[in-house]
């Protein structure tokens, strides 16, 4: 058990360190900019306002909220203290709704969309990649260019194309939103049906892009493994092809798990932008709203939550990796 404990302890330590770094960056980056950030944010918010006292009131409110008049260290402590209470400030665009409330209603949609999509895309991509490596010849020649092209398409591009083809032209899927615009979220059968209908296009746009990238990686890994000495030796020993393929697949899988851990941030950010195309009520749309409305607390809140999501996903993948990597397993017998 010692090997596991050491491995997980190390991963947990990194998780905590990275979390602190993410919070620090979220705090520092906007404050690092030259000039008075509050004045800049006020100018953006107060665009079109001519009433000087209103502008001043907005400025005061921002200054109060960010506490920019206090010393940096004290500001940070207040920020962290609020964070522990789940207080991310009040949204300006939906005043007086707290940012944490907006995020709470959005984060479920994003996780429900991205988690299954990325897992399924990863699995399908790996199976296709392994098949391409194993079968080679015709299959490989067709699958690979398609996979490469798919992975080159940005997620939002695929989202637009799917939207235009299936929602606008064929009219077999809804154009926007997470559920029918005439509905109130509840647990009725109609609502669930509407949610599932609205789920299809965003889901497939994430899955298809993920498949492409994963298939290419898995193919290279599998080819690499198929040429390894142990495969030749196993063939020489007369071990059945299917058995060898299962070895190869398992060995090629390990780097793919690491690869997923390393690229999950990119995948999630791509999918967030795809969300915007469908006006899906998730974090991406909330963030876009924050940006277009110059709602600084909302932007800061969503970026922090996205960082935390990626952190947790990476941490979980590291844990899974620990269980399936024979080297970590072997370490516990030391």
């Amino acid at each position: 058990m010692k090997g596991y404990r050491k491995y997980f302890g190390k991963k947990l330590l990194w998780f905590v360190i990275t979390f602190i770094a993410a919070v620090l960056l979220n705090f520092i980056l906007p404050r690092l900019m030259p000039g008075d950030p509050v004045a800049a944010i006020t100018a953006k918010t107060a665009q079109g306002l001519t009433d000087a006292s209103a502008v001043k009131a907005i400025y005061e409110q921002y200054a109060e909220q960010f506490g920019t008049k206090k010393p940096m260290a004290e500001q940070f402590f207040i920020y962290v203290k609020n964070l522990f209470h789940g207080d991310l400030g009040l949204s300006f665009s939906q005043y007086p709704r707290p940012v944490s409330d907006i995020i709470r209603s959005a984060v479920g949609w994003t996780i429900a969309l991205q988690f299954p999509a990325i897992v399924i895309g990863w699995l399908l991509g790996n199976i296709l990649g392994a098949l391409a490596a194993y079968i080679r010849k015709g299959f490989d020649k067709i699958i690979m260019p398609i996979a490469l092209f798919m992975s080159s398409l940005p997620a939002f591009g695929l989202a637009v194309i799917l939207l235009v083809v299936f929602a606008v032209n064929l009219k077999i899927a809804p154009v926007a939103g997470g559920y029918g615009f005439d509905m109130i979220p509840n647990l009725s059968w109609n609502f669930i049906k509407s949610v599932i209908q609205h789920y299809q296009l965003p889901f497939w746009s994430v899955v298809l892009v993920a498949i492409g990238g994963q298939a290419i990686g898995m193919r290279s890994m599998s080819i690499y493994e198929l040429n390894a000495d142990y495969v030749k030796y196993s063939r020489f020993l007369g071990i059945k092809d299917r058995k060898i393929v299962s070895y190869v697949f398992r060995n090629a899988m390990l780097p793919q798990v690491t690869g997923l851990a390393l690229s999950i941030g990119t995948m999630i950010s791509g999918a967030l932008v795809a969300e915007i195309i469908f006006s899906y009520p998730g974090l991406g749309t909330a963030m876009l709203q924050g940006i277009t409305m110059s709602d600084y607390p909302l932007i800061s809140g969503t970026t922090l939550i996205i960082s935390v999501m990626v952190l947790v996903a990476t941490f979980l993948l590291d844990i899974i990796y620990g269980f399936i990597d024979p080297r970590v397993k072997a370490a516990q017998f030391d």
Binding site: S269, I277, T292, I299, T303, V310
Partner: protein, 416 residues
């Protein structure tokens, strides 16, 4: 070196990628010569003019016509006049008036008209038809009759003194002008965008800007990554620990989040294309640093490096002559991938409204953003967004292909 390049170009994947990329670059160089001018100039009023050739109506009236008697001219003219709604209404009239319409195809204009002329009469009052509808059918009938009549159109000009209209010329139905005789013809292969700008011209310019952003960001990211990776991998110890500390942190914190925070803080006014490229470059070096470090670590204790150390060579010389050549192919590949991910990052940032400021030069992301803001995808203006998506996809496809090709050349285990 020469041999390596020859080998690289023998890889079909690399070659295909290279040809696509070279074609895009060539377009960027040549198209502005054919169609010079400011890509952001708003030439059209109104949004999303369809792709096609636009002939000046004013000038074609003044151009000397030739006479052609084409048999299907009338039918074509009528087909254009009759909208889909008109056709449905005509069928409604036939049914209401009790005309036999079995076997009638609504798209077959001559048949429709024949039936219409044979049966329509303004005195017929089908049951249940409102006065407004009857008036509509009368108007429709007049439109059909006038399109079919032999009358000419008269072009008149107001007299400068009296203001009275004076006849200038007549246009017969059989008058045709040669498009090359008309002095003002505008070809818009991709129509105009939401601001009435020539989309193709804009796209070519945007493609250039995006590739430049990709090159700058990729070069910065690769340089930083290479430097940190070399130092961490070769020196090891404390330097390695420090570099790895930051690298580990930034691999997990998504660079996209950093990009958003930094771009937002910079503010719209200060955000030129160059600034965006810098920001992307400074947030995406982590990958390169990680992999260069692990490559250098495996090289560090090779015999030739040790020999170099024993001969008393300096650190700089060891790195440039004994380590860099071994990882050069890898660095080139990383650079290629950095370019394509930087172009994608710019597009995603712009879609969020955090791209370069909108007044100076177009980028692929900004074009996409404009198209989405003006709902080009919902109103059927495919020319405003599809070519942009295709260009982004082609750029990264070609770069990915080149990368895979290089990978196969330098990694013999991956070869087919």
């Amino acid at each position: 070196m020469k041999n390596t390049i020859r080998q690289v170009f023998h890889s079909s994947k690399f070659l295909v990628g290279f040809v696509i990329f070279a074609f895009l670059l060539l377009m960027m160089l040549i198209y502005p010569l054919i169609n010079p001018g400011d890509p952001l100039q708003m030439i059209g009023l109104g949004t999303f003019a369809r792709p096609g050739t636009y002939v000046s109506v004013y000038d074609s009236v003044g151009t000397k016509p030739s006479t052609f008697n084409l048999p299907d001219a009338d039918a074509n003219r009528l087909a254009k006049i009759l909208t889909a709604e008109d056709r449905v209404n005509m069928v409604n009239w036939f049914t209401a008036a009790g005309v036999d319409i079995t076997g009638l195809d609504t798209q077959d204009t001559p048949a429709m008209l024949k039936l219409w002329k044979a049966n329509y009469s303004s005195t017929v009052r089908p049951k249940g038809m409102t006065k407004a509808m009857r008036n509509y059918y009368e108007r429709l009938n007049n439109a059909i009759l006038s399109a079919n009549s032999a009358s000419k159109l008269t072009v008149s000009e107001p007299n400068a003194d009296t203001g009275a209209l004076e006849e200038k010329s007549e246009i017969a139905k059989s008058d045709y002008v040669n498009v090359s005789d008309v002095s003002n013809v505008k070809v818009l292969p991709l129509g105009t965008d939401n601001f009435g700008r020539d989309t193709l011209k804009e796209l070519v310019s945007a493609c250039g800007t995006s590739i430049r952003i990709g090159l700058i960001a990729g070069a910065i990211a690769t340089l930083i990554g290479l430097l940190l990776g070399l130092l961490a991998g070769y020196l090891g110890g404390l330097v390695d620990d420090i570099v790895m500390f930051f690298t580990n942190i930034f691999t997990v914190i998504p660079s996209f989040v950093l990009l958003i925070l930094i771009s937002y803080s910079i503010g719209q006014e200060q955000r030129g294309a160059g600034t965006v490229a810098l920001v992307i470059g400074f947030t995406s070096w982590v990958w390169t640093a990680r992999s260069v470090r692990s490559q250098v670590m495996s090289l560090r204790n090779r015999d030739h490096v040790n020999l170099s150390k024993l001969s008393g060579h300096r650190l700089f010389r060891i790195i440039t002559t004994d380590i860099l050549p071994y990882i050069a192919s890898y660095v080139v590949m990383a650079f290629i991938l950095q370019i394509s991910s930087a172009i994608l990052a710019e597009a995603q940032l712009s879609l969020l409204g955090l791209g370069p400021k909108t007044t100076e030069i177009p980028t692929l992301g900004l074009m996409m953003n404009w198209a989405m803001l003006y709902s080009a995808h919902l109103n059927g203006s495919w020319w405003a967004y599809f070519p942009v998506i295709l260009t982004i996809a082609l750029i990264s496809f070609s770069l990915n292909l080149m990368n895979t090709g290089l990978d196969q050349v330098f990694n013999p285990t991956l070869r087919d």
